[in-house]
């Protein structure tokens, strides 16, 4: 019997500071010799651990189209995340995954997509966007609009990706910050306000879907805008930030009604979420 609590020892290839304040880093991991990379779906997560320090869940921030190296974006908030920040290339880190359901990539096929992320919650949406933009997949989706916001320009993640996406003509990128600083020439305002501005974007194929991940307040104010845009609850997919521990539906921590975010989620359609207890709406 394989032990779902036993981590795979991954090798740290890179560790990059994402934000000006140094509070968020992205680490890139490769599999040990003799271990085949796993397949996964954007939106899935993994438990990263350093034995003796602890274990914590992180969304996989890289696209499954490049499965050899996995990115994880880590905000330094506690003991485990601080130690993960200190990891240097060549060091080892434990990984259990992939866990959770991920975004419903099959169900999104043939639709126009609105990808909406705020702050640190953007990591799995970055994975999804790169997945959707991959030449082998791009044809499966209609128009792609990405709305991404951070509190200030210094906290914007994945700057290389943002530059690449801005240069593309097969997608629409809207980046906004709550508070601009001196050098900022882009949009200023909240994510929901930015989503309002993309209201005019015409649907290419007809069916539309939105993928949303971010802080609770962002989600709360974004949902009415999406309703105005005519998206039905079944077309809105939220990736919930939940405290998860075991990742396999045993430890009870991430229960939402009869579902566990670690196995049935973390991605839920708004329709499904509305059938669950109101604690997470």
């Amino acid at each position: 019997m394989s032990n779902p609590y036993a981590p795979v020892p991954m090798r740290v290839e890179k560790s990059v500071t994402e934000t000006e304040d140094g509070s968020i880093r992205t680490i890139s991991l490769t599999f040990p010799d003799g271990t085949a990379p796993f397949g996964f779906v954007p939106g899935q997560f993994a438990e990263l651990s350093i034995l003796g320090v602890g274990e914590a869940p992180f969304g996989i921030a890289s696209s499954p189209m490049s499965p050899d190296m996995l990115d994880f974006t880590i905000a330094r908030v506690g003991t485990v995340t601080t130690e993960l920040h200190y990891l240097e290339p060549g060091e080892s880190v434990g990984l259990r995954g992939p866990l959770g359901n991920g975004y419903p990539v099959e169900g999104l096929s043939g639709r126009d997509l609105l990808v909406i992320g705020g702050g640190f919650g953007f990591s799995t949406l970055r994975a999804f966007t790169n997945y959707a933009l991959h030449p082998g997949n791009r044809g499966n989706f209609g128009g792609i609009t990405v709305v991404y916001g951070a509190r200030n320009p210094g906290l914007l993640l994945y700057r290389d990706d943002l530059c690449d996406w801005a240069a593309r003509d097969d997608m629409n990128l809207v980046v906004t910050v709550d508070r601009a600083d001196e050098g900022w020439t882009g949009m200023t305002g909240t994510v929901p306000a930015a989503v309002e501005k993309v209201k005019g974007v015409k649907s290419v194929l007809g069916g539309r879907a939105a993928l949303v991940c971010g802080p609770p307040a962002m989600i709360r104010y974004t949902l009415p805008v999406l309703a105005d845009l005519g998206l039905a609850p079944a077309d809105i997919f939220l990736s919930l930030e939940m405290k998860m521990k075991c990742g396999i539906g045993k430890c009870g921590r991430c229960g939402i009604g009869g579902s566990y975010a670690c196995t049935d989620g973390p991605v839920y359609s708004l329709e499904r979420l509305r059938g669950l207890p109101g604690e997470f709406r």
Partner: protein
């Protein structure tokens, strides 16, 4: 060969017979302060056979309070510590205790992912339950689809009859133990369960569930749970609560990753690193516990997450009685 146990001495002899079997570990209720707990016994005299059940449930036999998952010696690599227990016999569980293990089986050993630690202990376990002659003031098993003679989860049930017990074999595993311990068994039920005193009028679980779900936003939750202290006594004395946390620590020069019991009643349970907490108040947390047991678990596991053993009623330092809340929110309107 006999199929009936007459009197207490015969029960002691049965336990002695089981203890004499080579290579088995036996757990039975033993005195702990003024109460009782399931613990390993080496002789029949240690066991509290007259007790009306242990204060502490048998769950720690299968899911200990603290359990090592992985360990690493200095300079070594992590090795998992899935146990390989010898055959284990749980002697003197109550029928509700056995049903709680059925529930734990569905949590830990059900679904796509089997918990190997639990599964190893469970595979080694044979459960001998003793039916209940009379309910205690805290019992409500009949409201959770159980009963004083429920056989669910037991391998053998000793069914009270007169001054003794009729030996009921429920499973192959039970038959094997009975054979090895030199007992026969009875086929077919001769005792009418209705002849046993019941723990109050049973509640209709399906109706209860529906009403509870409707009562999710009921404003009375706060007032009716205001006296809750937010401790974990109810959850840690519960035979079917299964929540845990995973922690790393250094122990005797080794680095170990362990799981430890955790409680949905603790403020830290769902609070996120950002400070956001989907269940910020005591009322939210109490509601979750009650809804989990009487609504969510029926959906996830096909049975309630409560077996009506009454330990939480007994254990609650402020006598916040779950039965009163079930009736307040789930009773007839």
């Amino acid at each position: 060969m006999t199929d009936t146990i007459h009197g207490r001495e015969s029960l002691v002899r049965l336990l002695e017979g089981i203890l004499a079997m080579p290579g088995v570990t036996v757990y039975a209720p033993v005195a702990e302060g003024d109460g009782a707990a399931f613990d390993r016994v080496l002789s029949a005299s240690e066991a509290l056979l007259d007790s009306s059940g242990a204060v502490r449930p048998p769950r720690q036999i299968l899911a200990p309070m603290t359990e090592t998952l992985l360990a690493m010696e200095p300079g070594g690599s992590a090795v998992d510590s899935v146990p390989a227990p010898e055959p284990t016999i749980l002697f003197g569980a109550r029928p509700c205790d056995a049903r709680a293990i059925v529930f734990l089986d569905r949590v830990y050993a059900g679904g796509d992912r089997i918990d190997p630690y639990y599964a190893a202990r469970r595979e080694a376990l044979t459960i001998l339950s003793i039916g209940c002659r009379e309910p205690r003031a805290t019992c409500f098993c009949t409201s959770t689809r159980g009963g004083p003679l429920s056989v669910e989860g037991s391998d053998i049930l000793l069914e009270p009859s007169g001054e003794g017990w009729i030996v009921r074999i429920i499973t192959e595993r039970g038959a094997s133990l009975v054979g090895r311990a030199g007992l026969g068994s009875s086929d077919g039920r001769v005792t009418d369960p209705a002849a046993f005193p019941q723990a109050g009028a049973p509640r209709d679980l399906s109706a209860l569930r529906g009403r509870l779900e409707q009562a999710f936003d009921d404003p009375r939750w706060e007032a009716l749970t205001a006296k809750c202290l937010g401790c974990g006594a109810c959850t840690f004395l519960c035979p079917s609560c299964h929540c845990f946390d995973i922690v790393d620590a250094e122990e005797d020069g080794r680095i170990v990753r362990s799981r430890i019991w955790d409680s949905c009643q603790f403020k830290t349970f769902t609070r996120q690193a950002s400070g956001h907490d989907p269940r910020p108040t005591g009322a939210d947390r109490y509601r979750h516990r009650l809804m989990h047991k009487f609504s969510y678990c029926l959906e996830s596991y096909g049975m309630p997450g409560c077996v009506g053993c009454g330990r939480c009623v007994e254990a609650c330092p402020v006598n916040l009685d779950i039965r009163l809340l079930l009736d307040a929110f789930g009773g007839e309107r």
